[in-house]
């Protein structure tokens, strides 16, 4: 039967070539499309993690939902001592975030002012690398302000400009001071660049009366795929029901959601494409099968069962799709692999997509054998489905009816 299937494939060239070419094309484009989609999602995530959000962040319950000084973390040093001994935690730093009014001589803007430990922060965000003008904070606990480029534009300030700050200290008392612009940064994330400014905690804590306090502790892990496990360990070690230890999946829930939605749309559009391919393959199989009705009638008359005929048709599509997939899958995988190692550079992409947190012009494709395997599986499945109707059609005829067919 296998032999006959092979012969049929060689004989009915039109159908074979169409099926082969379509299968080849859809396998290849499916793999590359999914690799591109996953790749862009991955890089958005990684960008976001690099920029500011932590793999894990530790909060007092209520801070994220309600906010305000009632929900600050206390005894930060003690908590940090505990973190030091947890396996999988590579580094940590605490931040003190507050919202206030920044004003230059003529302009003002609400902003998030964050007290950071400049040296530690280097391991936790891209702030230092995002420097475009002046200097990053030098760690000497002065009143230097590191301002987002778009915020600086809003305030119309330059390097060395004076900026006044009015806010509320950790005990809700009035806090006001004058800072000096020492550096400007641009991450590409507009929201972020237009509303945040950083200052050395050593200086900021005296103003905000926030010694040994923090908005949250920002934790890096050695291996991002272990993040859930490490989160549990931290939760257990801190052993305080008033704390919440959150991973990036929760912290960036809206982004994760958005990417899910994006994936769904991606799959919908590619499945439309597949439905078309599927129907074309089916129509060709069907035309081929109906032109061979008399042949099938002969085969049935001389003693092949309808199951034999189904096996014959199955072999035909199996050989054709296997051949196409064997050629297309490695090619698709290679393209994904190549552009994974050598990301496509799209000039100006970071500019266009900065609101989505893309901070580089590189778009690496995702290379994942498991994904490629299920892509291939789907193409196989569709090809097999495409001959079910032709099979049904042929088996509706009795041998004698099929024989008479011309």
């Amino acid at each position: 039967m296998f032999f006959l299937a092979l012969k049929n494939i060689l004989f009915y060239k039109g159908r074979s070539i169409t099926t082969f070419a379509l299968t080849f094309f859809s396998t290849f484009s499916f793999i590359v499309y999914v690799a591109m989609m996953d790749g862009s999602h991955n890089s958005i995530l990684h960008n976001a993690l690099k920029v500011y959000v932590g793999a894990i962040e530790i909060y007092e319950k209520g801070y994220r939902e309600i906010g305000g000084n009632e929900y600050l973390l206390y005894n930060v040093h003690k908590k940090e001592e505990i973190l030091k001994n947890i396996e999988g935690v590579s580094s940590f730093t605490s931040r003190y975030e507050t919202y206030g009014l920044l004003s230059s001589d003529e302009y003002s803007s609400a902003a998030m002012v964050v007290g950071i430990n400049p040296t530690k922060e280097v391991q936790h965000s891209q702030l230092k690398n995002a420097l475009i003008l002046g200097e990053y904070l030098d760690g000497s606990a002065n009143n230097c302000l590191y301002v987002g480029s778009d915020l600086a534009k809003r305030l119309h300030v330059k390097l060395d400009s004076k900026v006044s700050f009015i806010g509320s200290a950790s005990d809700n008392s009035f806090a006001a001071d004058i800072f000096k612009v020492c550096g400007m940064f641009k991450t590409g994330a507009y929201e972020f660049d237009s509303s945040s400014a950083f200052i050395d905690r050593g200086y900021f804590d005296t103003l905000m009366l926030s010694e040994d306090m923090a908005s949250y502790i920002h934790v890096n892990v050695t291996d991002l795929s272990d993040v859930d496990l490490i989160q549990q360990k931290i939760q257990a070690a801190l052993d305080d029901p008033k704390l919440e230890v959150l991973t990036w999946k929760t912290l960036m829930a809206s982004m994760v959601e958005a990417m899910k939605v994006d994936s769904i749309f991606g799959y919908i559009s590619i499945s439309l494409f597949f439905v078309v391919i599927f129907f074309v393959i089916m129509i060709f199989s069907f035309i081929n099968a109906s032109s061979r009705l008399r042949e099938f009638g002969t085969l049935r008359a001389i003693g092949l069962s309808s199951a034999n005929i189904n096996v014959l048709l199955f072999y035909e599509i199996f050989i054709l799709s296997t051949l196409a997939i064997i050629l297309a899958a490695p090619l698709g995988a290679y393209v994904a692999y190549y552009f994974n190692a050598n990301p496509i550079i799209i000039e100006g992409m970071s500019e266009t997509y900065k609101e989505y947190g893309i901070v580089s012009d590189e778009l690496p494709l995702s290379f994942d054998l498991f994904t490629i395997a299920w892509n291939v599986g789907i193409v196989y499945l569709l090809n097999f489905l495409s001959i079910l109707y032709p099979m049904r059609f042929i088996n509706r005829f009795k041998p004698l009816e099929a024989l008479k067919h011309v």
């Binding site: 006959l4 012969k7 042949e295 002969t298 001389i302 003693g303 092949l304 041998p399 004698l400 024989l403």
Partner: protein
């Protein structure tokens, strides 16, 4: 070898109008016979041949192959029966277009699981007997009608079935090719003792057979 008892068959056309295509057929065909169902067009030859070949069902009566009643068998059992016990030759040759002559002749033997060596020898033997041995590697579409029909005969005869059923095998052939075909089939019948039952109204066929079963309007009128 084959025995029919009170076989009736009807074709239903719509609700009421039925055709009584086989009427109380009683018939016996012995091993080694070279016989013919003859009669005017539409008298039921093909219907009877298909009933004997387990290709079509009947409405009443019994058909025995040796001692087995075959008309009541399941579709699968009848399929196996056709493969293992029957050989078919059709009016339109019905060769498998993608297989060459050699593969066509050996096709049924291969389905039945004969050894490759046995198949090869048998194909060679039949091909020279039927004078198509120079065409073994050609595709059917490159052969003349007469040659194609000889390939079809060789395919049917190759596994030595109990009986060959040939429905109008000469209808698409000219007189010369018809004579050659009948000559060869008859010598196969004599050499190998293969039983053949024709359905035809062709005088060439009539001249070669040893027994004529005359039919008219669905009934046998003379044996």
């Amino acid at each position: 070898m084959i025995r029919l008892q009170n076989v009736n068959k009807y074709y239903y056309r719509g609700e009421e109008r039925e055709v009584h295509a086989l009427k109380e057929i009683n018939l016996e065909i012995k091993k080694g016979e070279f016989s013919l169902l003859s009669g005017p067009s539409g008298c039921g030859k093909t219907t009877l041949l298909n009933a004997i070949g387990a290709l079509d069902s009947i409405d009443s009566g019994e058909i025995y192959l040796d001692d087995m009643e075959i008309s009541s068998l399941s579709e699968d059992a009848r399929t196996r029966l056709r493969l293992n016990e029957m050989g078919f030759v059709f009016q339109a040759y019905n060769l498998i277009p993608v297989l060459n002559v050699e593969e066509n002749i050996g096709f049924i033997m291969k389905l039945r699981g004969f050894d490759e060596d046995v198949i090869k020898a048998r194909v060679q033997e039949l091909a020279s007997l039927l004078e198509i041995d120079t065409k073994l590697s050609s595709l059917p579409s490159t052969l003349s009608g007469g040659q194609q029909q000889r390939v079809a005969v060789a395919r049917a005869v190759a596994p030595k079935p109990k009986i060959i059923l040939a429905d109008e095998p000469t209808a698409n052939l000219d007189s010369k090719n018809s004579k050659t075909l009948m000559d060869m089939m008859r010598s196969l019948n004599e050499k190998e003792g293969i039983s053949v039952l024709f359905a035809s109204h062709d005088e060439y066929v009539m001249r070669y057979v040893r027994r004529i079963i005359e039919m008219n309007d669905g009934a046998i009128v003379a044996k």
